[in-house]
């Protein structure tokens, strides 16, 4: 490997001292915040801390209370529904846009600029714009009605059953550009000769995509899925801006539950338990991926 800085000093700790000094922030962050902070939160999720963290253990009480709370169950259901739909639609839309962009089109840069600009905007801005567009009195619904279709109803943000779809629309608008970019990079990595061979064999384009190109892009898909998935679990600002969890509790998400219990309801124990559940959710996604990527990777060389 590089370096190793054979300074030849006798003291082992002092060897390569500058690099160690430069790494102090990283070491502190990794150990104190990432490892320490995580264990601290998990540890205190077994206490009945209210306003301040206290060391009075109550076993898994907080978790029982958590899963008995309708608000948390709603939040998890929302996250599951939103997560699955957002994953599927991001991949499909992102890939289709990328495939269109890969047809040697003109003005590729212009199109890419347009598809990607929402990604530069914050979730707060995204949520507020779509709150306005989906506003029942002025937005899409009222515009369609004013065109003559008076019974037209499209009011997701005030209808508990479909509010999560309203959030999904905004999220897809914001995030699909990124997926498109990743997919496009993946498509550009495919050897031209594959396309030539497929054309010579007379395989239709859609079949080439479906059975040859997509399987070849497996690593890109996996990376993209991990990126989308870890974003999904964290979804918070968008909901706060667009619906504030409403109407009622129908668009609650876990991240919002955590924040509300930690910083507003003064019920730290619940917040810790809920955030630990979020950690478990992420672990369920990440561990198989890490295994595929790094565990299985060795065999592939």
């Amino acid at each position: 490997m590089t370096g190793q800085a054979q300074a030849g000093r006798p003291n082992k700790l002092l060897r390569n001292l500058n690099a160690k000094i430069a790494s102090i922030p990283m070491i502190l962050t990794a150990l104190v915040i990432f490892v320490g902070g995580t264990f601290w939160t998990v540890f205190y999720s077994f206490t009945n801390s209210k306003l301040l963290p206290r060391l009075s253990f109550v076993g898994i009480d907080q978790y029982e209370r958590l899963w008995a709370a309708p608000r948390w169950v709603t939040a998890i259901e929302n996250l599951a529904l939103y997560g699955v739909l957002s994953l599927i639609f991001s991949l499909v839309i992102g890939f289709m846009l990328a495939a269109l962009m890969d047809q040697k089109i003109r003005f590729e840069n212009t199109f890419r600029t347009i598809f990607l600009y929402p990604f530069a905007l914050s979730f707060i801005v995204t949520g507020l714009v779509w709150q306005w567009i989906l506003n029942p009195d002025f937005g899409v619904q009222s515009v369609v009605r004013s065109l003559g279709w008076t019974s037209f109803t499209f009011n997701p943000l005030y209808t508990p059953e479909i509010v999560i779809y309203g959030i999904l629309i905004a999220a897809l608008w914001q995030g699909t550009g990124l997926v498109m970019c990743l997919m496009l990079a993946g498509l550009r990595g495919i050897d031209e000769d594959i396309w030539k061979a497929a054309r010579v064999d007379g395989i239709p384009m859609w079949r080439t995509y479906l059975f040859i190109v997509i399987p070849m892009m497996r690593p890109v898909f996996i990376t993209t899925i991990v990126i989308i998935a870890s974003g999904i679990v964290k979804v918070y600002d968008l909901v706060v801006a667009q619906t504030s969890g409403g109407p009622g509790i129908s668009s609650e998400v876990p991240a919002k539950y955590v924040y509300d219990y930690m910083f507003q309801a003064q019920n730290l124990g619940q917040g810790f338990a809920a955030s630990t559940m979020m950690l478990v959710t992420v672990a369920i996604i990440i561990v198989p991926w890490a295994y595929l990527e790094f565990g299985g990777g060795r065999k592939r060389g």
Binding site: M1, T2, G3, N16, A19, S23, P25, M26, A30, L31, I33, F34, V35, G37, T38, T41, V42, P53, L100, Q103, K104, I105, E108, N109, F111, R112, T113, F115, L116, Y117, P118, A120, L121, S122, F123, I124, V125, T126, L128, V129, W130, Q131, W132, N135, G139, V143, W173, L178, C181, T223, S230, K234, A241, A255, Y259, M262, T276, M278, L279, I286
Partner: protein
């Protein structure tokens, strides 16, 4: 086809990174321009592009209308009478709670948060990435792995311990505290970015400098830094947009008078008191989105590279 041309000329004008000639798709351009395939292709792309542009358009036209016009009409129609009053009001008069000095306060708070956070996080991560690439020591890879795995832990899990630490030091609720938090959470991705970049540089350079007797800082400042300006720009883009757009840390780690712009914007728009002034809300929304949008349009390809760097692990 005329449609396509007009759309593209206007869009190309706003595209500051307008394509360098000669770049773009490889190979010869096939087929005549007006084939059925092309109409389908460009038709789909243009419809999609219009969908993506729609919210921006709605924001701009709403912010230029007066309230009476908004109550009458159609959010998609262009303003009959252009007024800039909503912008002035959003910037200088909009109320959050008791303060009525508009978004300007949030803007300056965001500037005061973003500038030091970007500088500090990049300074730390670049030196650190350099140490990880060229001066490995026992355990360095282990800590780095922990750092990268830590990037996947939901922030909610680590927020409260940080609140306690900052409270103990006495900087909870101050901008300094928030700057530290941003520097911490920017570390995994930035360190990865710099480490991978420095690893990709030819090793001989480093070795030659070592043979000539240059030390850790000398090599970094005189050889590595001048060679890695593009990656610094990428890191800056990543951090400026990320920190400017942050909401969660802002709301947790600051107080109302130090709220960053995003938090203040949300409070202005979603406040339940008073009559809703949609034009002011939209003007405020654009103002908040303006900084990352400018960064995006100015940086163009580098922005794409930045997010791709954020995406591609290892």
């Amino acid at each position: 086809m005329a449609n396509i041309e007009t759309l593209n000329t206007t869009a190309a004008a706003s595209d500051a990174v307008a394509p360098k000639l000669g770049e773009g798709p490889r190979g010869a351009r096939p087929r005549p321009a007006l084939s059925g395939r092309n109409i389908m292709l460009y038709g789909t792309l243009i419809v999609a592009a219009l969908y993506y542009l729609l919210p921006l358009y709605v924001m701009v036209v709403t912010s230029l209308k007066g309230m009476p016009e908004i109550r009458l009409g159609n959010i998609f129609s262009p303003p009959m009478e252009i007024t800039f009053e909503p912008w002035v009001k959003a910037w200088a008069e909009a109320c959050t709670g008791l303060n009525c000095d508009g978004l300007s306060r949030g803007f300056w708070n965001s500037v005061r948060i973003t500038v030091p956070s970007v500088i500090i996080s990049i300074a730390i991560a670049s030196v650190n990435g350099y140490a990880l690439a060229n001066w490995r020591f026992k355990g360095s890879e282990l800590f780095f792995s922990i750092l990268i795995i830590g990037a996947f832990i939901p922030y909610q899990v680590m927020i409260y311990p940080i609140v306690i630490i900052l409270r103990e030091i006495g900087i909870y609720g101050t901008l300094t505290g928030l700057v530290i938090v941003h520097s911490i959470f920017g570390m995994p991705i930035l360190t990865l970015l710099f480490r991978n970049y420095f690893v990709s540089l030819p090793e001989e350079l480093f070795k030659a400098a070592r043979v000539d007797g240059a030390g850790f800082w000398q090599i970094f400042l005189k050889i590595m830094l001048p060679m890695s300006l593009p990656i610094f720009v990428v890191a800056m883009i990543l951090q400026v947009t990320g920190i400017w757009n942050d909401f969660l840390f802002g709301v947790v780690f600051t107080r109302p008078d130090t709220y960053p712009m995003t938090v203040q914007l949300n409070n202005i728009v979603n406040s339940v008191q008073g009559v809703k002034e949609y034009n002011v809300n939209m003007a405020a929304t654009i103002l908040t989105g303006l900084v990352p949008l400018i960064v995006y349009f100015v940086s163009g390809r580098l922005f794409v590279r930045g997010i791709a760097a954020g995406a591609v692990k290892g």
